[in-house]
Symmetry: C2
Subunit: 118 residues, 2 copies
Amino acid sequence: MFAEQIQNVVDKIDGSIGGLIMGLDGIAIDQYVAGGKDFDVNTIGMEFSYILTQVRKAGDILELGGMSEMVIKSEGITLLIRMLTEEYFLAILLEPNSNCGKTRFLMRLAETNLRAEL
Amino acid sequence: MFAEQIQNVVDKIDGSIGGLIMGLDGIAIDQYVAGGKDFDVNTIGMEFSYILTQVRKAGDILELGGMSEMVIKSEGITLLIRMLTEEYFLAILLEPNSNCGKTRFLMRLAETNLRAEL
């Protein structure tokens, strides 16, 4: 059920690699990797679930309110994260120079349905 | 010298709070807070310099290449970070719903001059 909705975002973006829904404890609920791509989406999600926990802690200390979104761009990848609940997030991985704006829009559209199932 | 360039980005964005240039060791080179705003930009930078270090470590482990940009949105703030060198980053803080796209553009424009001085 979740994989179809992740696929629904991933397959609409040129240069998208895959995505997953994961808890901040680093355990994935579901994932989808675009056809023909060989990418360990789960390991990337696990590493960044730890970082998200650190960001949340920093936000609490600094009283910045709950985190809703994070985008990280590196030479090799762009990672977009959207918190769905206090515990779960949707992460989408793109090749560099893919369309971040459209991806964020599609993630926002997917959020309502995903939240209802979490 | 750096503060003027930070100001040059901050003052062109409606709803911007301030900005700073800092090392990953959490020591700021210079900072600027928009007129009338009471915000501890330095403490926020320090907390996120630690997170940036974690992101860099994760990127190394996962072989994702050097990190270039990070955006974090929370209920209370939007934080945009751009790596200037391996060690130093430019961070700009905005109120929620400010224009991130324009801010990223101005940060990119400022990068060349800032790099030349670092």
